[in-house]
């Protein structure tokens, strides 16, 4: 048993080494396949990040009348935080609002001057509310249209933003859907190309397989070296793809970071390194083994 395994491994390795052109072709196709599958994974990660970034920016602000006491507002905040739809509530007092305005426009003298002209603090205290899902903003704004609260509220900016909010969520849902669909199709194509390449390499060995049968080799003794070859091709392709990805991300990182602050592709890659490695090995070696087994079956019937 052990002797057979040793012979199978040795034979698989020597086939890989001797059929240089064939091995090169298979490895390059495999690298492309694994590259595509990894890209899809990274693409998924990036779009999810962008969508959550976009969704995080969506909120509604409820402005309270000037004469409402801070305690009352904080009580409303407390109540809102209990609700399961609400992700986060932030209280912005009138002073905070003024300070933020000044900070934002500190270089715009005209605005600051007109603010000084007004004299008193023109801003209203507000609650900034974030929900988990876009559909929940409706419910939140309804909450303020009912009785004890209605009187406290000066205005809600949800109605002005309603369309934009809904559109953002619609876009993010379609992007997620299209991304998954595209990923599925491209992944399928990649898998089929790899599968057919392996089938062709085994087709070129069909005569050899039948000779092996005729001199009395058992099916596993014949399959073994092909499986070993598949593992070698998968492992080498994974290694190459990892190196290629690392280099690309290493050099692209700065540009992407300039374009998308807070998002580092290289960081994402390294954080998910083991998942990516697992996906790549599973794709490379799994495809190699399964395709070999399927392709070889036909020639073992002698």
């Amino acid at each position: 048993m052990f002797v057979s395994l040793k012979r199978i491994i040795r034979s698989g390795w020597s086939n890989f080494r001797r059929q240089t052109a064939l091995s090169f072709a298979t490895v390059s196709i495999m690298v492309m396949t694994i590259f595509l599958i990894t890209s899809l994974f990274l693409f998924q990660g990036t779009t999810n990040f962008l969508i959550s970034l976009l969704e995080g920016r969506v909120d509604i602000s409820v402005y309270f009348k000037k004469d409402i006491a801070e305690d009352d507002i904080l009580r409303v905040k407390e109540e809102l935080s209990q609700s399961p739809e609400v992700k986060n509530v932030e209280y912005i007092s009138r002073e905070d609002a003024l300070a933020r305005f000044i900070e934002k426009h500190k270089e715009d003298l005209v605005i600051l001057e007109s603010l000084a002209e007004v004299g008193a603090n023109p801003f209203l205290a507000s609650l900034n509310i974030k929900a988990f899902q876009a559909s929940q903003y409706d419910a939140i704004s309804d909450f303020f249209s009912q009785d004890p609260y209605q009187e406290l509220v000066e205005r809600i900016d949800y109605f002005q933003n309603k369309q934009i909010i809904e559109r953002i969520f619609k876009i993010s849902t379609s992007v997620k859907f299209a991304g998954s669909l595209l990923g599925l199709i491209l992944g399928l194509i990649a898998v089929l190309v790899a599968f057919n390449t392996i089938r062709l390499t085994i087709y070129s060995s069909r005569e050899e397989i039948s000779i092996m049968r005729l001199v009395g080799a058992s099916n596993w003794f014949i399959r073994g070296p092909f499986i070993v070859q598949g593992i070698i091709v998968g492992a080498i392709s994974t290694l190459l793809t990892l190196i290629i990805f690392f280099l690309i991300l290493f050099f692209a990182n700065e540009r992407v970071e300039a374009f998308l602050p807070n998002f580092s592709p290289l960081g994402y890659f390294l954080n998910n390194f083991f998942i990516i490695l697992f996906i790549q090995l599973a794709a490379g070696i799994g495809l190699g083994i399964i395709s070999s087994l399927i392709a070889i079956r036909k020639y073992l019937k002698v």
Binding site: E208, R213, V215, G216
Partner: protein, 226 residues
Amino acid sequence: MVKFQNTTKIYNFHTLALDNITFDVEKKGFVSVVGKSGAGKTTLMKLLLAEEKPTKGRIFFEGQDVHKIKTGHIPELRKKIGVIFQDYKLLPSKTVYENVAYVLEVIGADDAEISKDVPHVLEVVGLADKMNNFPKELSGGEKQRVAIARALIHRPDIILADEPTGNLDPYHEREVINLLLKINEMGTTVMLATHNKEIINSLRRRVITLEKGKLIRDEEKGRFIL
């Protein structure tokens, strides 16, 4: 040891290759099968090797009906048969040494045995200096001698030799026949298919003559008559 019982083989529903053949080969026997090309010599061997199924009749090897063996157990049958194929059937991606060693690996021989026996057999067939060449680098005669080495290295119970001298010069031809005789003396059954008249006449062994798939003559100490 080998028994063909009313065996008929028809290829593709209309090409009659063997027509109701019946004969036995006893253990340690030496049988020559002669006939023009297309007479059915190779089909006979394919049937015994379970490479083809008979259309009618049965074939026994060591008491076992060859075509009742399940696919998974066919290797066990083939390990007991050494075949010198007419078209050599060498493994193109393996060297001469590896081609011969492969059969020993298949039967599970240990490494020490392989590294001792293979060079020895290659020396016997005169290919010691071509051990590391690939089949495509050999002449027809050399390939044939590799096929011979491969067929006998694992000391099979029977050797099927399908035109083993077809590509050899008279010197090597004589050598190969002497080798087969020697192996036979040591107890291995030999079935030799050939259309070489001189060899058959010099052997003075049993000869089975096929013509158009029919067994027309089966004589002890036969001669080549067609």
